[in-house]
């Protein structure tokens, strides 16, 4: 009986809305097809083609993928990205968590500090890259060298830049998580004689696991998709020649895909094939990470 009533109620709102589908759905859906669905499907198709523009595409089967996997630059970019992601996910999350933890304790000026730490997020990646390349070059000049002289400088430079940018963002998320830890739970732990460290590891951290899930997800996908900062800081330099092919030593995957495309039109298909591989990699990582950390969350 209640079920029947519910159904009638729903239709009262539902039925008239349906007639307005063109108004409510069509603009977004049309733009979504133009901006996402069509380019996505065409992208998969073109990764099996040799092309300059989609009009002159010729089917070449898996040749682009074969070329992509043989490319030393792509392999180098993969290991750069993997290493970069590992280091930056750890560094950003640990720093952001402890800054958030400190700022949620009673402290004078906590709001001001929060404002300052978040600020770098408002600045675009390209601008950040140039600011930091000036700073790093200024420091390295004292040792008569420069940022793009050595791949190690470029790698750690990028880690510092991205940490500086993203710690503030993740800190905001951790602060929101920390503020939602139930007060009575902390008090109960205190009464039971838990030390500060014990309540941090046994009460607080398990309770902020949803924030940890979100932050590791964001930092992981951000690191894998990083482009602007990489391009503006080192542009992939320095490069070396391996077996007659140029390998950019500080390139991450996203930049490698772009620079492959710009080599010549012969490489367009290879760049698109790399993009498909990159998409699969990001998708698998994102889904696995969600699955793994979601299991560790506390049910409230």
């Amino acid at each position: 009986m209640i079920l029947l009533a519910k159904k009638q109620q729903l239709s009262l709102v539902q039925r008239p809305i349906r007639r307005y589908a063109p108004l409510f759905l069509l603009p977004t859906f049309a733009a979504f097809i133009i901006g996402f669905i069509w380019p996505f499907m065409q992208g998969i198709y073109l990764s099996f083609c040799s092309f300059n523009t989609p009009r002159d595409a010729k089917w070449v089967g898996l040749a682009n993928y074969a070329k992509a996997f043989k490319d030393a630059g792509f392999a180098r970019a993969f290991w750069n990205t993997a290493g970069f992601a590992l280091v930056s996910v750890l560094l950003i999350n640990v720093c952001a968590f402890f800054i958030a933890y400190a700022l949620t304790q009673r402290m004078r000026g906590a709001n001001l500090f929060r404002t300052v730490f978040f600020m770098p997020n408002l600045i675009g990646g390209v601008v950040l890259g140039y600011i930091w390349s000036m700073i790093f070059d200024g420091i390295l000049k004292r040792y008569s060298t420069y940022l793009t002289a050595n791949a190690t400088y470029g790698f750690w430079g990028l880690v510092i830049l991205v940490a500086w940018q993203q710690i503030g963002y993740m800190m905001i998320i951790y602060i929101a998580g920390l503020q939602s830890v139930p007060e009575d739970m902390l008090e109960a732990a205190k009464i039971d004689g838990a030390t500060g460290t014990q309540s941090l590891f046994r009460v607080i951290i398990p309770n902020v696991m949803p924030s940890v899930t979100v932050c590791t997800f964001l930092t992981l996908t951000n690191s894998f998709k990083l482009f602007d900062q990489n391009m503006a800081l080192t542009g992939g330099l320095p490069n070396v020649i391996v077996n007659g092919a140029k390998v950019n030593m500080t390139e991450l995957l996203a930049l490698n895909i772009y620079s492959t495309y710009t080599i010549s039109k012969k490489w367009h298909g290879v760049a698109q094939a790399k993009a498909v591989v990159f998409f699969i990699l990001v998708a698998v990582l994102a889904l696995t990470q969600q699955f793994v950390t979601r299991r560790k969350e506390v049910q409230q």
Binding site: Q9, L10, L12, V13, P16, I17, A21, L23, F24, P27, T28, F29, A31, F32, I34, G35, F36, I37, W38, P39, F40, Q42, G43, T53, A102, R106, G109, A110, L112, F113, T115, V116, F118, M119, P120, L122, I123, G124, G125, V126, V127, Y130, M134, I135, K141, Y169, I175, A176, S211, L218, K225, D228, A254, Y258, Y261, H268, A271, Q272, A275, F279
Partner: protein, 284 residues
């Protein structure tokens, strides 16, 4: 002991000092840019950390130069950036909230498919679609600042619809029913009843999209006709990446000009921005 003292433990005072120093270090890069924007090109090259002296101080010279050099007036890029950002965010907020409401209220196969496609689009990196999106945008003449907001609506729909549906699901349907019984058409119901209730989510989504579009480099770089239209990030990239000698002092002035408006907005909307980021994360 007065009350103020007892509020803060000695440890928290030490932490305050520590964090004050850390905050100062945190904004040093921006202060560096500010200092260097008043120095001559050579002085920036020689030692970017030195303060300007009477020889190297340029006054507003760099700013005046920065506004004009590179054959393209900086203010033109600023106006294109402004227009693209405002128009894109407006389109995304309006159309995505409408679609999200429809998806939540009409339980059809079509709206389910659309919803799952939106979720799917969130894990697809831009690199996957960037070349083909460029072709499509060129073909459909979406390569101007006046039409590129449609591309942003399309590529940004996923996150926006996901966040809006998350919120609409929590809205009590009874209010809308009451409106329907009182004779509201769905359009009236949406704009006069639902949309006002969505205000906090509109602000959160708006801020996330604003930060994305304003700072986005690659999409406008690939899609726009670059012989005619630049945005701020592309302009900065052109200054620094152009061949030949680059005037570092003037580049720093341009960077400073691009940062200042953001910082001013941040000062005024800080609470909303921080709330928006936190809200976006809960849903993400």
């Amino acid at each position: 002991m007065n009350k103020k003292h007892s509020l803060y433990s000695p440890l928290s005072k030490v932490m305050s000092v520590l964090f004050a120093l850390l905050s100062l270090a945190w904004i040093m890069p921006i202060i560096e840019v500010l200092i260097n924007s008043f120095k001559s090109n050579n002085a920036v090259n020689m030692n970017p950390f030195a303060l300007p002296n009477s020889e190297t101080f340029m006054g507003w010279g760099n700013y005046i130069k920065g506004l004009t050099f590179g054959n393209y007036p900086f203010l033109k890029s600023v106006s294109y950036s402004l227009f693209i950002t405002v128009a894109s965010v407006f389109l995304i907020l309006l159309f995505c909230s409408m679609s999200a409401w429809y998806i939540c209220r009409v339980n059809s196969l079509g709206s389910k498919i659309f919803y799952y496609l939106c979720l799917f689009s969130m894990i697809v990196p831009f690199q996957m679609v960037m070349f083909t999106l460029t072709f499509t945008a060129d073909m459909l003449k979406l390569n101007t600042p006046y039409t590129i907001p449609i591309v942003y609506l399309g590529f940004g729909a996923g996150l926006a619809i996901f966040m809006f549906t998350g919120f609409v699901k929590g809205l009590p349907i009874e209010i809308e029913e009451a409106a329907a019984i009182d004779g509201c058409s769905p359009v009236q119901t949406f704009f006069q009843v639902v949309l006002p209730m969505l205000k906090p989510t509109l602000i959160s989504v708006g801020i996330l999209e604003l930060m994305w579009v304003w700072n986005d480099y690659l999409l406008p770089y690939l899609v726009l006709d670059r012989t005619k239209y630049l945005t701020i990030p592309i302009h900065v990239q052109y200054l620094k990446g152009s061949y030949g000698t680059v005037d570092l002092g003037a580049t720093m002035a341009v960077i400073m000009l691009s940062i200042i408006p953001i910082i001013i907005v941040y000062m005024f909307c800080q609470k909303h921005i921080i709330k928006g980021v936190a809200a976006g994360a809960v849903k993400g």
